[in-house]
């Protein structure tokens, strides 16, 4: 029941966010905030490491759709890795996987985004 945690780091110009906890509305807004900040710094590639997010809700995930919309205006990209099955299934149901990518690992995400 700890607060949602978010660690941000950068690898080869890609912004990686390691999340920790329930991705609800508050958590989604935290992620969006970091994206906004990084977009101001002209970063356009974002990876979410969702290893420690075993639970999400549709309000939290809807905020990721907002992020995707913003990224489209700057030709940016959003990706995820280390998803538990129910999170991946939810992303599929909501169609996020049409406009953002699920990667098997951080390595794969970085490789795909470095080009």
């Amino acid at each position: 029941m700890a607060e949602f945690g978010l660690q941000t780091r950068e690898v080869n110009g890609v912004v990686i966010m390691d999340t920790d906890g329930y991705l609800n509305n508050i958590a989604g807004e935290k992620i969006a905030e970091v994206c906004d900040e990084k977009l101001e710094e002209d970063k356009t590639k974002f990876l979410l490491n969702l290893e420690n997010t075993k639970v999400v809700n549709s309000i939290g995930v809807s905020i990721l759709i907002e992020i995707i919309e913003k990224l489209q205006t700057v030709d940016g990209q959003l990706g995820y890795y280390n998803l538990v099955p129910i999170v991946e299934k939810t992303f599929n149901i909501m169609g996020l996987t049409k406009y953002s990518s699920v990667f098997p690992s951080e390595e794969d995400g970085l490789e795909a985004f470095s080009g």
Partner: protein
């Protein structure tokens, strides 16, 4: 009259942040006891979160609790989520689509769709006195 041979679990919860997680923990314990499997358990939890959020949001007051009722049968778990909110017509709710959501103002509106996709059956009964959603999951 309820069949007393079927174990039931009842929760009455107020609108408190993350209170839906108390419901999902309950669902997890029940699902484990029924040996529904990890995948089904996660699906039930996700559907329950969405049903709780809808009940919280649409009951439109902090003072009224919402009710969650689990009925454990041999093969099937039935979950009812009940609120005393304003009600709605579930058939009139538009099916969300990512392309439209990306263009539109409102990114939300996914709860009903998620519940329908994840549960084996789901039914909304609604009036001005409130809404009850009844969902089931059967052992596969």
């Amino acid at each position: 009259m309820p069949d007393t041979r079927k174990p039931t679990v009842d929760l009455s919860i107020p609108v408190i942040p993350d209170m839906e997680l108390a419901a999902t923990k309950t669902a997890e314990v029940v699902a484990k006891h029924m040996e529904l499997g990890e995948e089904a358990t996660a699906e039930i939890s996700m559907a329950l979160i969405e049903a709780c959020l809808n009940a919280f949001e649409h009951s439109k007051t902090d003072e009224k609790n919402i009710y969650i009722h689990f009925v454990i049968d041999d093969e099937t778990l039935t979950i009812k989520v009940e609120d005393k909110g304003i009600g709605f017509e579930s058939e009139e709710v538009e099916i969300p689509d990512i392309d439209q959501k990306l263009k539109g103002q409102r990114k939300r509106g996914w709860g009903l769709q998620i519940i329908k996709e994840l549960m084996d059956s789901v039914e909304w009964e609604s009036s001005e006195a409130g809404t009850t959603v009844t969902m089931t999951k059967t052992k596969s």
